[in-house]
Amino acid sequence: MGAVFIPSEFGIVFLPLANVQVKAGDKLRITSRYSHRGKAESVPLYAAIGNSGWAGFDEVLNASKTINVPETADWQFYEDYVDITITTALAKGLYDLYAKIGGTIPKVISPTLYDVVEVLVTGNSEFGEITINSYAKV
């Protein structure tokens, strides 16, 4: 399945987003665009899968990587990605996504994308039946 690209958010037009189907063992690549100006800095780019609710974002899986931004006087835009490995910690269902820059106290947080990750669960190993197809002297 190809990447799902988010349309730019102009005005108040609501565009439902396609979800991406994943299962344990897959990786989900989340690409973010961010803006920066000022001194050069190395900071974590962080993304999480979970459920957004009244109490905040309940993260189930997350990942981060260090990004390096150069010193610039003016606002510059960059893109980078984080890969989250899908594990059995995610039960079957739909999940939300968000990304941020920074650690415990984030410098900037993305809008949450709702119900965009659908986790499929593969059942345990099972054998259904067995039959003898042939028999011969060897």
Binding site: I6, L28, R33, S35, L97, Y98, A99, V108, L113
Partner: protein, 129 residues
Amino acid sequence: MAQYADIIEIVAPGEAQAGSRVDITVKVKNTHSGAIGIMVGGALEYGVSPWPGISFPEPSANVGGGVTQSFAGYFTMPDKKVTIHAYSYWYGADGYWYFDDEMTKVINPAAAIESQFGSIEIVSYERRL
């Protein structure tokens, strides 16, 4: 004291970000009673030799007697304190430019602004095997 082309002011910021374009204006007054040709030039002193020049897209003009003319120029701010040297010249009847006046002004490098992140948005998500 200048003879004819008196530099009365250099308009420039007190500080500028290293690497940024700095726009300046050199104001020159024609102290002669009649119109004369006036030209400006400029150089930057900050420890390199020869001194880099200042760009003046229109460095000369015919200026009426007693009139002050503004000449716009620009340069790229180095990463250290720089002294602007502005020079004026007047055009003689013999067809030569004669150096007349000099004025200086110091521009300090501005401290780099702190790191700021303005926004972040997820632009795509995809399954990777």
